[in-house]
Structures are given as structure tokens and as C-alpha cells.
Subunit: 369 residues, 2 copies
Amino acid sequence: MSSRREFLEKLTVSAVSLPILYSPASVLAACDGQPYKGPVLRVAIMGLGSYGNRVARGMESCKRAKLVGVISGTPSKVIDWRKKYDIPEKNCYNYKNFDQVKNNPDIDAVYVITPNGLHCEQAIRVAKAGKHVICEKPMAINAEEGERMVKACKAAGVKLLVGYRMHFEPKTVEVIRMRKAGEFGKTKFFQGQSGFVIGDPTQWRLNPKLSGGGAMMDIGVYSINGSRYMLGEEPIWVTAQEVKTDSVKFKEGIDETITFQMGFPSGAIASCLSTYAMNNLDRFFLNGEKGFAEMQPSTGYGPIEGRTHKGKLTQPHITHQTLQMDGMAQLIFEGVQPIAPVDGEEGLKDLKIIDAIFLAAKTGKKVEL
Amino acid sequence: MSSRREFLEKLTVSAVSLPILYSPASVLAACDGQPYKGPVLRVAIMGLGSYGNRVARGMESCKRAKLVGVISGTPSKVIDWRKKYDIPEKNCYNYKNFDQVKNNPDIDAVYVITPNGLHCEQAIRVAKAGKHVICEKPMAINAEEGERMVKACKAAGVKLLVGYRMHFEPKTVEVIRMRKAGEFGKTKFFQGQSGFVIGDPTQWRLNPKLSGGGAMMDIGVYSINGSRYMLGEEPIWVTAQEVKTDSVKFKEGIDETITFQMGFPSGAIASCLSTYAMNNLDRFFLNGEKGFAEMQPSTGYGPIEGRTHKGKLTQPHITHQTLQMDGMAQLIFEGVQPIAPVDGEEGLKDLKIIDAIFLAAKTGKKVEL
């Protein structure tokens, strides 16, 4: 039985993470070898679990973003992180006092990397403290929460960004570029398969209050988001079928396996699988009138591999979290948009689809969006 | 725009079709280089269209089956075939007089390769004439017809076999063998994608009376049948979603694109795509607890290509129709069953699922089987 981390790490090569950023306008600029002299996004990470650690490691290679603070309920972790990342004590907070970040001029943004069920309240508190919010996906556990987050950030005049690392990943960016350039012709079908066998039954991801759902919240969301950036349209209906073979491990409110389908205005369709009960499923397939793209793995942390009708995708693997954080800094400071949006509205669109999928699975009916 | 034939032929190599047969018990025997001295199944082909031609060519390499007669409504075709295959005039019939085959001791079986909507009546007439019936898939246009065919053949004491050529295809046989041997562990997911862009809008396949449906009848049935032989179970429910983008080409009663899902007693699920509107989709994927199989192309006439968790599938390509007809002869004469059934009951199971898919697509409801 593989753990979530093992699954996503499986294909990671310890490539030197070059300090190259990728966003449409700046690739060449970033590769010119000149030292970066622009503004740096000073980030505090909230939640020092395994993914928080991964983001911190990725940020070591960033040139536009820097880890400067932490928010954690575990003092021993704070001590470790302070040493490892040279973080001053004044930039360290816990879950009770982090509203005080508003008085800290040395922190620009907080990256919320806590269990899904905590995102909404925590993000709103960060926004009220006047700091930009970066929130791990899924942005929240339902659209109602997502809407409150979007509103709160708007009211506070801060950015709300969601950790859609694939929107900065070079092979993914290339496929989206090809689609936008019409190289696939009219896109007609997307298939997403997202799944692995989840391990430790005591983890927060299997606790419905903390996770808001099972495989769908964790990895099904990759197929949902992927269908949108691959097809370039917003779905107008969803249907879904749920299967549960282990109701001990997967309690009420924790989906084990859901197949779901989405219809799009052009007539395109998506057919996806989200599961915590099958090994190593990580495949995207886009089919158009003039060509196709096939990516496998499509969303893991390691090198994405893929091919299109034109041949193998050969863009370099760069640590996704490095690209994401540099790209988000560039978005915040220069307004440079990545090839697919990473803002709160984008996160909210996925949450609305998740709500609809859960409703469709429960009722057995097609749900219009 | 590719034609159906071009699609299915795409990967055919003109390999010498060795007179080797494949059925579980006889591979070694057939490869021993000894001349075959057993009984030969003497077959008349009904319907001399492009697939009839393909079967006839495949049979040239058979050692247990031989083309000895034709049934056609087109006298010029009969003349051509007589020359090409050295067929005596007394073994040639038309659609009016073919009941007289009952008085012909030189024909053992009739292979019905006519439009789907004609199979039922024609097969029953063949059965009543006392000849074994081999019927191209889909066996008929609905389960009610299929049941009548099964009954008629039983009453007449003749075999009813359906042209499931994949059940004799070496790589497919190997994957089924592996599944039966438990090499994939518990099988949990099957994905089938069957599609191509259909050409000529005047062909019988786009005429609902002759075809009984569109892509589903023609190629979706591969994913249906494949889900059953790959998972090794019978579905207990289906859901389906239909999308039509061209209602001129795809009239009422002709499905363009249907996504469908099937649930199985073990909790396994199948997620499939059947379409006449997308290029070159021909992929099977089977996922189990201990391994996987991926085949692409999975059902075309040319070499099947695939891999499993153990590596590339390297079984040889042998013309499917050769294997099928030799295997069917062996089934009829020796009772040797192929690795997955090819009888009327098997065809009927697929028809019941097709009926349920059409109902599910129409009503939007899950249909229990």
C-alpha cells in the first residue's frame, strides 16, 4: 500500500532545480543569466506538514519569492524550520496569534497549507490581516466557503491565489499553448484518471470534517481542473457515479471512487476517474479534430511525461513548486498571468463543480451548472 | 475524414498469415508442422461487402475452415467471388432462395455479415435450414431479437456463434489468461475508448433501420464486450450520457457519442467512450490491485499493441479472422472453447447492455441489469 506522498513523489528525479521561471512573458528573461533585481515576495507558510515542507524546499530555488515566516501549532516544528530556513523569531506565529501578521511589514503573503476544512476561516483571517493569500487546492470544502474567501480577499484588497502548480509546469503549459493556438483543432474529449491507494487510515484526508471529502477533494480535483485547462471551456453539466468497496476506511462523507462526466458548450465531453482505491492512476488525454495530447504521469510532482500528435513533449522538468511560487510573485508584482488562471475565481469554479459532482453522485441525476 | 475501413485497417501489416490457430488447447498442436487431417468447416458467407471480403481473405489461411459458398443479392459479386475462391455454382444463393441451403450437404455453416438490422431474420432462416450460424457482431439490434435467435438455433439444434474475433487474438488472449491466473490481483477498473470519424453519410451504418444505432452498435460494442472479458464479471448497472453535435449526419436513432459507465458485483467499474465523431480512439486499460494492462490499438484489425506491468506484450500478430474461423471450427467439431465465449448467449449479454445503455442515455437514470 503506497502513501499519498510516495505516489506523488514516485517519479520525482532529484534534478537540480534551476532558478528558471515560466510564465508566458518571462521565460527568456529569466534564462538570460542576469541576477534578478526586482521585488521579492516574502512568504510565510501556514501548516508545516509534508506538503509545506515540499513547498519550502521548492522555494529555495526561487528568485522572486522567499520563505520568511511560519505559522504552526507545533513549537518543535517551528524550531526546526527556523534553523533550516534562517527564519527570524518575529516571523513565527501559531494558530491563535497569526492575525498579528498584520503588524509585520516583512511578510507579504501567507501560503495556507493546512487541511481543506480549515482553509476558509484561515484564509479570511489572513486577508483581514492585509496579506495576500495563497491557498493550497482545493481552495475550500464547498463553493459557499470559496465565495466567502473570494469576497473577503476582495474586501481586504489582497490577492487570493490557489496552488495550481500545473499551470506553471512546462509540458502542461505547452499543451495549453498548443490548444490555444488551435493545434489540436476543435477539442472534443478529455479523459482524466486520478487515483492511488491511500495509506494510513488515521490521516486527516480520511476525516470528513478536515478534508471535506475523499479522493475527489485530494486528487479528483486535478482531473476537474485539468478538463477545464485542457479543453479551454467551462462545463455546463455533470453526471457522476460513486462506488465504495470499503466503508470502514472510507466513512460517510469520504468518497473512495467516483467516475464523473462533464459536458461542455461546444459538445466536448470529459470522462474522469477519481479514486483512493486503485494504484498509480495519473493520466490525461485530450483529443481534438486535428491531434491529441497524452500525459502520463500528468500531475505528479515528478517529471510529467507526455506526447502529442507532433511527438514527445520535451520541455524540461523544473520543480513545480519553484515555478509556481516564482510565477505567483510575478503575478502579484507585475500582473503577469500564467497560461491558465490561478486566482480565487478559478478555485471557486472547481468547487462549484465538486459540489455538483457530489450532488450528481448522490441523486443519480445530471446536474446543470 | 477517415472511413471505418481505413480506421480499422490502419495498423494492419501485410504479415504472412500463418496457418496457426489459437485456442487454449491447441496452439502447440497447430504449430507442430504436421498437415491437418481433421474435419473442415465448410462455410458460406452471407453479405459480400468489405468485411465479408476481409473474412474471405482471412479464411484463405485457415486449416480447419474453408469458404465454399456465398449468399448475395448482387450477381456480379457472386461471379467475382466464384472466380476468386473457386466456388461451385450450386453453393451460391441469393436472399430469396437461401433457405434452400438446407438441401446442400456441402455447406456446414453460414457466416451472416449483413447490416445489423437484418441479422435476426437471416440467422433464424439459416438455423431453420439446419446450418450452423456465425453472425457478425452486434448479433442483432436489440436483446429481444437476440433472444429469438438463441431460441431458434437451439430449437434447430445448430450452433450460434458471434464474430468476436478478439477472443482469438493472441495478445488479448494473454491478458485474459493473466487475469484468470490472478496476475493483476483483483481487477478494479476498465477503460474502453472506441471511436473514429465516420465517413460517407449514405452508408447503412448511419441508417437506423439497418444499423439499429450508430457508434455504439458498430464499435462501442467492443468496449462493452472488452469490459466483460477484461474484468471477468457481468455488469449490474449502467449509466450513460449522449452528446450529439451533428444531427444531420447522425439522425434520430443514430448515436454519435456516448460515454457510459458500468458497475460490477465486485465493486469494479468500467468507464467507456463510444463515438463516430473523434479520431482514432482504440484503447483498453485494465487496472488491478497487482498490475495493469494497456492495449492501444486494442481492437483494430492490425497488430494489437500493449503492455502490462510485466512488460510489452509480444505475442505474434495473426490475421484475426483466420484465428477466429479456425477457432470456431474447432469449437464446433471438438467443443474446444476459446478463452472467452463466442456463443449466442455471449452476444445476447452485450445486446442487453446496449439496450440498457440506450435507456440510460435517454432517461438519464442508472439502469440495473
